[in-house]
């Protein structure tokens, strides 16, 4: 059964069997506005918590999306190459950004659950 976590940087992680699917929250996509390009990471890339994993580009600006935990990219959401607007229309579903194999599951303890995240964005 998957557990969903949230970060202060407005990302969500759905963790199941040591793999996290990561995306940005609905709140984040609203702040960014219409996305026109997503720069996706290569499979196999190793990331430390805080490294830039993905760059999402709106009409106006480019924004980094950081790795919320240490791990290795196992898959990037290639659909976004042709349809970056999926991040706007389905931020927590079809608009996921990447999947990563967790290097240290204990890092998840530092993240928020949905209730805490909702309190965080007010």
């Amino acid at each position: 059964m998957a557990t969903t976590y949230f970060t202060e940087d407005h990302e969500w992680l759905r963790v199941e069997g040591g793999i996290a699917t990561v995306g940005i929250t609905d709140y984040a996509q609203e702040q960014l506005g219409d996305l026109v390009f997503v720069e996706l990471p290569a499979t196999g890339k190793k990331l430390a918590k805080g490294d830039t994993a993905v760059v999402v580009e709106s009409v106006k600006a480019a924004s980094d999306v950081y790795a919320p935990v240490d791990g290795e990219i196992t898959e990037a959401n290639g659909t976004l190459s042709s349809d970056p607007s999926l991040v706007n229309s389905a931020a927590t579903g079809a608009g996921w950004l990447w999947k990563m194999k967790l290097a240290d599951e204990s890092q998840l303890a530092g993240l928020m659950d949905e209730a805490a995240y909702k309190a965080h964005i007010g």
Binding site: F37, V55, V59
Partner: protein, 366 residues
């Protein structure tokens, strides 16, 4: 907030009620987007009519027996040659020929002119104008107005339904249709449209009428930027600065031939020298290959990897359907179709020099 000098639009409450998201621009809290979002706002403007609150921009009335002489000194302009109601793009230049601001000058009467200046330069412009006015029998009056732009193919029809007839007004002309109103057929989108300076009470009334028309939508600063970039129009502070002169900016068309040769405007000698030398760099349109936008500040390289220039504005063009950008390249590379490369976070993105505008202008010229 204490110590916050951010300026607020007189109609801010209307924007809040419309669901605007605000951001800082040139010292102002400005609506960036409305709930429709930048993409829809942009496309709506090109298809119907977009309403913009541009009250951050400043209107100055310059008047007096020597108003013409003063403006001819302030700008590379033949103010006396303007017909009443005719508008012209011009500049304040520094002694080095660099662009302090770009402005629209409209002749309102024999000895009265309207000068519309950019928000970010309004304070400096006023100081500049007042200093000049001291040498002439002329007066500078900053006007306290709400300034609205309505842009797009249905702008005239929406204004007509709101009780404002624009029929005979042509592109780059401006009139005073009512007391303390200034209305010009101009804009910053490449579309037919109007800019209207008017008192706040009148503005509230006009906005209510316009928003009652399904063809009209509020448009934020984000779409204003993508619209003007597609239209190849410069943003002062980015595409033109005090370090760029009108020759390298490709804006010499705004300066009449006789004025180039003999005008006594500030910066004349430096500009003549720059024209004679030929500009080392040239402002061009840039079309990135693929979907990835190339943003302001990105360095440009030629095919051999030599520095070739830089990007001054960049983003995505919703009407063009691809990323669009503007920047400066070494003059020999300035021909449309020439390939250069932009450095985006360490990756070299192929970019082709593209003629401007990206989206054809649709002005009402006659």
């Amino acid at each position: 907030m204490t110590g916050d000098d951010t300026k607020h639009l007189p109609l801010e409450d209307i924007h809040v009620a419309a669901g605007a998201r605000f951001g800082a621009f040139a010292g102002w809290s400005m609506p960036l987007t409305y709930p429709a979002g930048v993409m829809k706002e942009h496309l709506h403007t090109r298809e119907h009519a977009g309403l913009f609150d541009i009250s951050h921009m400043k209107l100055f009335e310059v008047s007096g027996p020597e108003a013409v002489a003063m403006l001819n000194r302030a700008c590379p302009l033949d103010a006396g040659a303007l017909e009443v109601s005719q508008s012209k793009l011009s500049f304040f230049l520094n002694e080095a020929g660099g662009i302090l601001d770009d402005l629209i000058v409209t002749r309102l009467g024999d000895i009265r002119f309207m000068v519309v200046a950019n928000a970010g330069n309004a304070v400096a412009d006023e100081k500049h104008l007042r200093a000049l006015a001291a040498d002439f029998d002329a007066k500078v009056e900053p006007l306290d107005r709400v300034f609205l732009a309505i842009q797009g193919p249905e702008a005239w029809a929406a204004l007509s339904r709101a009780g404002i007839e624009t029929g005979s007004l042509l592109f780059m002309h401006g009139v005073e249709p009512r007391q303390n109103w200034f209305m010009s057929r101009s804009g910053y989108t490449g579309e037919d449209g109007f800019e209207i300076g008017l008192p706040e009470a009148d503005a509230r009334d006009l906005v209510a009428k316009l928003l009652g028309d399904e063809r009209v939508l509020w448009i934020g600063l984000a779409a204003r930027d993508s619209l003007r970039l597609e239209a190849g129009l410069c943003l002062h502070g980015q595409d033109i600065t005090p370090e760029t002169d009108p020759a390298s900016a490709g804006l010499m068309w705004a300066i009449p031939k006789e004025i180039r040769a003999t005008g006594a405007f500030i910066g004349a000698d430096a500009l003549r020298a720059a024209v004679e030398r030929g500009p080392a760099q040239k402002r061009v349109g840039l079309k990135p290959d693929g979907r990835q936008p190339v943003r302001a500040g990105a360095a440009l390289f030629d095919v051999d990897g030599n520095p070739a220039g830089h990007v001054t504005s960049g983003g995505f063009g919703p009407s063009a359907g691809h990323p669009v950008a503007m920047g400066y390249v070494a003059t020999p590379l300035g021909k449309p179709g020439t390939r250069v490369f932009a450095d985006v976070r360490g990756t070299r993105i192929p970019v082709d020099i593209n003629s401007l505008p990206f989206t054809p202008h649709r002005y009402r010229k006659g």
